[in-house]
């Protein structure tokens, strides 16, 4: 019996199973499905707040961040995540309608105080725009807005005209009718 135990111990120690890693230098292989710190594709986010609503621990807040896409996200509000409360369940990722929120393999989030582990959009964003692109986008957004306003104005005008026409026709119609009646 003793020999058997000894044999197992020896086998275990000889057949090099790597158990202890040299941690900060050597990190274990993580799968693609890993649920670590979030990554926000700032070009896709529409600022709908679905992630904040589904969060069971209420750790996502929408805050202002200027380097986003003003065409898609007019108010420029992006999620800020408090990792002091996050339990990495991944419901926010499942819920995201624009598929812009994903989870990365990064898991090292230690900080010196609680504020350090509240990640603003700038900390989790990828694909932030540079100044030129931002200016272009702002221009595009402005144009889109103008276009929309123009269309709205046109529509309103058309509606008004239609209404006026209808009213005119109505008047006319009633006038005609009245005339007809008179004639009769």
């Amino acid at each position: 019996m003793v020999l058997k135990n000894l044999k197992m111990t020896l086998k275990r120690s000889v057949t090099g199973v790597e158990v202890t890693r040299l941690y900060p230098e050597k990190i274990m292989d993580l799968p693609d499905a890993e649920r670590g710190v979030h990554v926000l594709d700032i070009r896709k986010c529409i600022g709908c707040g679905a992630c904040a609503r589904i969060c069971p621990n209420d750790c996502i807040k929408l805050v202002a961040y200027a380097r986003g896409n003003p065409v898609k996200n007019k108010k420029l509000q992006y999620p800020q995540i408090d990792y002091g409360r996050c339990m990495f369940c991944g419901l926010c990722v499942d819920e995201c309608p624009a598929s812009c929120l994903t989870m990365s393999k990064v898991f090292e989030i230690a900080g010196w105080n609680r504020e350090d582990i509240v990640y603003d959009p700038v900390d989790i964003a990828v694909g932030a725009y540079n100044d030129q692109e931002l200016a272009d986008l702002a221009e595009e957004a402005r144009k889109a807005e103008e276009e929309k306003k123009r269309k709205a104005a046109e529509a309103a005008k058309a509606k008004k005209e239609k209404a006026a026409k209808a009213a005119g026709e109505g008047e006319k119609g009633s006038g005609e009718k009245a005339a007809k009646k008179k004639a009769e």
């Binding site: 019996m1 058997k4 135990n5 197992m8 111990t9 275990r12 199973v17 158990v19 993580l30 799968p31 693609d32 499905a33 890993e34 649920r35 589904i54 969060c55 069971p56 339990m87 990495f88 369940c89 991944g90 419901l91 499942d94 989870m103």
Partner: protein, 571 residues
């Protein structure tokens, strides 16, 4: 073969006019509303004539709109048939009282005590109505009632009063309300859990007796719980168990979350069994929604749950070996090393190592990644080899056998009476396994044995766990061969989950035994009541009678062989 309809017909002919409402649900479930004064007779009739000898638990629901409390008693059978009887009793909201079933079923004790302390329903004839999970100060505020406003009451800040004791601790007390003073119904003495001194005075009779503490913080308990043993010399005369040190109020939290947000919370019942907890909860909500997961999703669930069973049994055995030989740590570490590989397999699908939150209503979160099959088959091969080795090493070890054989014997009759399930029950020669008994998912298509042992002692319980690892490996291999391609989520699942009003009970075979979720919906996006019926709750309740008459040195061997988890008991 008995069906739910047969039982209903028999009940109606034996008790005319007693059954107010009855329906036969899916999966051999019989739902019936019984007149409150006849519930004991009905249960006695079912137990004696239709072999409903397994008391599964009781659920208390606060129906505040109707001014009623509902207590649902759940009865099943140990293998004679597969019908689950869910018998409802209604009682008024003011002065609620229900007849106790402790006279019929020994293990009704804790379930009823919990309903009493949480909802304030009196159980007539219950032998010991004192708090189980709550501290003494919280008795009388009835935290599961729907009109409970928090403690201390944040809305009025009136109910609880802070007071410094002479020793410098803060104590809370609840002064009587004006209405109570006017009506003259002020409770003079609240039922209290006996203190250590009181217990000593009550129980110690002779010169040779003393009370020994094990816990709440002790090297040999798997979580904080207090085990006081009254010893006479070397023998244990009586054992007292006090739980509730880590009561988290998970069932109350679930009532305040949407159905979807509840999934990560159920992980926290017990991190070893997070996948099966997800499965039980999602299964119950799926029954309410009337949807079923597609075939591929069901296979993925089975694969991951069986992998999870392997890692749980490995850690359970490892912990047990540490407990019986407290100083020796190597078996623990050997099994932990093997378990890491299993966890890596699970992680490659779910993305987390212990708290998975993986199962969804009508499917699963992720599909299997590329190369999962090869990785899992390699791991299973390794696990098989290693488990063989462990069995050879310590199950045939003469010292181990001397220590374990014939220690803490649960006879089949006792095991059924005490209401345990899972490996401890199967070690007592009762082949009761939910995967075979009440086949959920696609277990009915799979080939596996239900492992049993005749002895019922500590060694048999560990052997059952180790043998189940082989069965799980076999099940996973079949699934990996059979798994079809296809979608992993059912179609037509609403974005916002709002089930129709109704109740559902769904039970699965946890690693430790029978895990059931009872979910009540009122048509809104949050459940009215979620009850988690855990397996370890039943083990823990059965511990004191099991410990009577053993040596002090065997207490740890018996308690450890149960593979308990305090987190799930306290919830």
């Amino acid at each position: 073969m008995t069906t739910a309809n047969d039982v209903l017909a028999a009940l109606q002919s034996a008790f005319p006019g007693v059954i107010e409402e009855a329906k036969v649900g899916p999966e051999r479930q019989l739902w019936a509303t019984i007149k409150p004064d006849r519930i004991v007779d009905v249960c006695k009739y079912l137990r004696d004539n239709h072999s409903f000898d397994h008391y599964t638990g009781a659920v208390g629901v606060d129906k505040i709109d109707e001014g009623l409390f509902e207590v649902t008693e759940m009865l099943a059978s140990h293998g004679a048939h597969q019908v689950v009887a869910l018998l409802k009793v209604k009682t008024k909201r003011d002065g609620p009282s229900v007849k106790s079933l402790t006279g019929l079923f020994w293990n009704a004790n804790w379930y009823e005590r919990e309903i009493w302390e949480m909802l304030g329903i009196n159980f007539e004839g219950h032998p010991e109505l004192y708090p189980l999970l709550l501290p003494d100060e919280l008795v009388g505020v009835w935290p599961w009632r729907k009109d409970f406003k928090g403690y201390p009451d944040y809305n009025t800040a009136e109910r609880a009063i802070e007071r410094l004791t002479a020793e410098g601790y803060t104590e809370y007390s609840i002064p009587p309300t004006e209405a109570e003073v006017k009506a003259g119904t002020v409770q003079k003495e609240r039922p209290k859990y006996p203190t250590f001194r009181e217990r000593e005075e009550m129980e110690i009779k002779g010169e040779s007796e003393m009370i020994l503490h094990m816990g709440p913080q002790h090297a040999v308990v798997p979580g904080p719980f207090l085990l006081d043993i009254l010893v006479d010399g070397e023998r244990v005369k009586k054992a007292f168990l006090d739980v509730g040190y880590i009561h988290k109020g998970i069932e109350k939290i679930l009532e305040n979350r949407t159905y979807m947000q509840g999934i990560p919370i159920t992980d926290r019942l017990c991190y070893m069994a997070s996948l099966t907890n997800n499965e039980a909860y999602c299964g119950a909500v799926e029954r309410l929604l009337g949807i079923e997961a597609p075939e591929r999703a069901q296979y993925i669930r089975i694969i991951l749950e069986e992998l999870s069973r392997i890692q749980s049994h490995l850690l359970g055995t490892a912990e047990f070996l540490t407990l019986i030989a407290s100083a020796v740590y190597s078996p623990f570490l050997y099994m932990i090393i093997d378990r890491e590989d299993v966890l890596t397999c699970i992680e490659s699908v779910t993305g987390a190592r212990i708290n998975h939150s993986f199962v969804r209503f009508g499917g699963v979160r992720n599909d299997l990644p590329d190369g999962f099959k090869d990785m899992t088959l390699d791991t299973l091969k390794m696990i098989r080899e290693k488990t063989e080795e462990y069995k050879e090493l310590f199950l045939s070890d003469s010292i181990y056998r001397k220590r374990m054989e014939g220690v803490g014997v649960l006879s089949p009759h006792d095991a059924r009476r005490l209401g345990v399930s899972g490996p401890p029950l199967r070690a007592s020669d009762t082949p009761y396994d939910m995967r075979r008994e009440d086949p959920y998912l696609l277990y009915k298509d799979l080939d596996f044995d239900v492992i049993t042992r005749k002895e019922g002692d500590s060694k048999a319980r560990v052997e059952v766990r180790l043998d189940e690892i082989f069965e799980s490996c076999y099940i996973i291999e079949q699934c990996l061969d059979q798994i079809p391609s296809g979608p992993i989520m059912a179609e037509g699942i609403p974005k916002k989950i709002k089930p129709e009003p109704g109740e559902a009970y769904y039970r699965v075979e946890d690693h430790r035994g029978e895990m059931g979720f009872f979910v009540v919906s009122d048509g809104s996006d949050k459940p009215v009541k979620v009850k988690a019926r855990g397996p370890v709750y039943a083990y823990m309740q059965a511990l004191p009678p099991l410990l009577e008459g053993v040596y002090i040195a065997d207490v740890v061997a018996i308690a450890g062989s149960m593979d308990a988890c305090t987190s799930e008991v306290d919830r």
